[in-house]
Symmetry: C2
């Protein structure tokens, strides 16, 4: 068989995914395997057991990131890393994170049974605590990328008061500083899309160009309460009428752009009484765009709309920016390698930004990085109904296999 | 002194109002005197003590409505009634309701000290339980008007489980069926406007033409939850974006009309999470208009807007009409009598509908009825800051004096 025709074992991959989903199994195909829980420990154990025959080296760093390395033929060359995370949301699904880990296991198995050796070393990484189920998100990859110190992470506490360092020891995954000799050439991550784009366009592969930047803000509108029957319309300062017009207007502004999304997900109305004109409304706005300039422009246009509409409604307004993450742009050569692999395999693909944040965005800060998306049913994730078909996953992992092999051969 | 120049005693009226406000006194000029409470009993006692010297007859009906009657010179003629209610909201103010009761006391005092006898008998009524502080509103006047039976009212329970009949007995105001010989020619009620119209137009008197009809409805919009970052705008079914457009659109429809008001006072968003597209929104809409046809038309236009905007947003909608009260139209001759009195007294006045519901709307069902409004500060009521100046009240009670006298002389 020519290497170009090499594919992974689709049913072996599926079986591993289903077996892993038994750890932290929740009703209706759900999985609850929050970071550093007993279940996370068991999942790490199972992964270690499975992968041992196919790698030469194992390392666990101080915050619990796990590295499994298969040496290349040339030990002077930096290694290529790929992976994702085994932890899940509370009542999450069977694919988010774990797919990117078990995909690399499947790549290793496939290379092994076909006796294929690569020039560069090649490693799987399981990032510690990606989801936000207990602790703040993406802490493992943040330490690897130098964004957080290991001390900061080890000392932090979960919402339930648990101590990161203690929990990590309890599951047996407190390790040591990585050797400075570890050099990484590139990082790839395979993940379900968590959105409906690929499914809707009937495509197999998303070649991820980066991740959207995100700005979140709280908008507070202060009006004047009044009797719903006796205050004429023109004398009102109705905070909810004002909020409604702002939301509609900002939506119109956004829809005129080519990309980006905006969501008002939370709204609290005071006094929230049937026969009283609302005196106060607070809503939370989430704006994302793959382009820094767009995000900045949207911020200005929205602030302007909020101000002028508030004035019209005789309301005062306060806009508080809660967070601002600039967009991530993945490495051009990684993007090209993935695109070439999808093309070679004759899969339907498109370049697209990621709507969500991933460990890859952290790693991209210090290492050339790329991501591959596979479609998922109705774009749903973080929910028991999260689903991707065996066929969809097969194509995703094949794309990863050929992208990794290409990077390890160059 | 000519009768045409007769006026009430402004400071005596004010003192009575302030003394009554001591019963159930709450912080910051507030009054808490819910219906059938100990305080309501004390207020009824004080009213009885004050009014005794000026009337010939007292009656309390089965549900606690109190009637005080001054005989006319011709006992064959039906009497003219006027009044309002002594009960208040929890943490209500000093004027809502009590003004209309003590105004009639002041009219009786004024007629007495000027030794003026009228042809028709003339009575004060204190309606039992007008506010919605404990029981459903306007129960006393509903029984008088035949809308409810006395049994229905006596057996009903407050939100705290209290029994109407028992509470009424406890304060000593459980009476008997009114004599069938009691004939009423007309009913007038003086009340603070509870809105900002008169104050804004710098007028003294509102000649009330009727009360707005009211329709309340619950609108439920069902969309689809999704990740705020990964679902493209065109694939969303965002229930809050949909609700915002509906509210803005209905407001635009309403503003094109000459009268009527609409308020969305309540809104609940699910899951109300910052990074999730809202899957469900329920909001409560209150629509009022002085014209039956307008109300019906608004209902149709709003329902149509809700339906087409929901479709555009890929949301399903459900509209539940919770209540429908047709507008009240007061008696033309009562309106004219009040208007003539205000004109004669050279007060600034205008015809206007009432935004709120009053006992007068009930009484209007069986007896020719009219209402007089006086301005109140910033249109505020049902709140400790409820206020009307001595001068404003003076003009209101003078208008009542001359309107009642006119009706009692004809």
């Amino acid at each position: 068989m020519k290497f170009n025709e090499l594919t992974v074992n689709s049913s072996r991959l599926w079986e591993s995914l289903m077996e892993m989903a038994e750890i932290g199994k929740a009703p209706e195909n759900g999985v609850s395997r929050p970071a550093l829980s007993k279940e996370d420990g068991k999942a790490r154990d199972l992964l270690t057991e499975w992968i041992k025959p196919f790698v030469d080296e194992m390392m666990v760093d101080e915050v619990g990131n796990m590295f499994f390395i298969k040496h290349g033929t040339n030990s002077d060359l930096p290694i290529v890393l790929s992976g994702s995370h085994l932890d899940t949301q509370l009542h999450g699904g069977r694919f988010d994170g774990v797919l990117g880990v078990l995909a690399v296991l499947e790549v290793l198995r496939t290379l092994h049974e076909n006796q294929i050796l690569l020039d560069h070393g090649f490693g799987l990484v399981n990032w510690s605590n990606e989801e936000e189920a207990r602790f703040c998100p993406a802490m493992g990859s943040a330490v690897f990328s130098g964004k957080l110190s290991s001390e900061q992470v080890l000392d932090c506490r979960a919402s339930d008061g648990s101590h990161y360092g203690t929990c990590l020891k309890q599951i047996g995954y407190a390790g040591n500083q990585l050797p400075s000799s570890l050099k990484v050439k590139a990082y790839l991550e395979l993940h379900i899309e968590q959105g409906p784009v690929l499914e809707n366009e009937n495509l197999d592969i998303g070649v991820v160009t980066g991740a959207q930047g995100q700005m979140t803000m709280d908008v507070t509108l202060q009006g004047v309460a009044g009797h719903a029957g006796t205050v004429p319309m023109r004398l009102r300062a109705d905070a909810l009428a004002c909020a409604s017009e702002i939301i509609s207007q900002c939506r119109s502004i956004l829809l005129k752009k080519e990309d980006g999304v905006m969501t008002v997900g939370t709204m609290d109305v005071e006094p929230n009484s049937r026969s009283t004109i609302p005196s106060k409304v607070v809503f939370g706005m989430d704006i994302r765009s793959p382009h820094s300039e767009s995000l900045e422009q949207l911020k200005n246009q929205f602030t302007e709309a909020i101000s002028s509409i508030s004035q019209k409604h005789h309301c005062t307004n306060n806009v508080e920016i809660r967070s601002f993450k600039p967009p991530t742009e993945f490495d051009d050569s990684c993007i090209e390698v993935i695109e070439s692999a999808a093309k070679k395999l004759q899969y339907g693909y498109k370049r697209m930004p990621s709507g969500a944040f991933h460990d890859a965005c952290m790693v991209n800060e210090i290492i050339p990085t790329g991501m591959i998306f596979t479609p998922c049913l109705n774009g749903i994730s973080h929910h028991p109904s999260e689903y991707a078909s065996q066929e969809q996953l097969f194509k995703g992992v094949n794309t990863l296999l050929h992208s990794l092999s290409e990077l390890c051969r160059k």
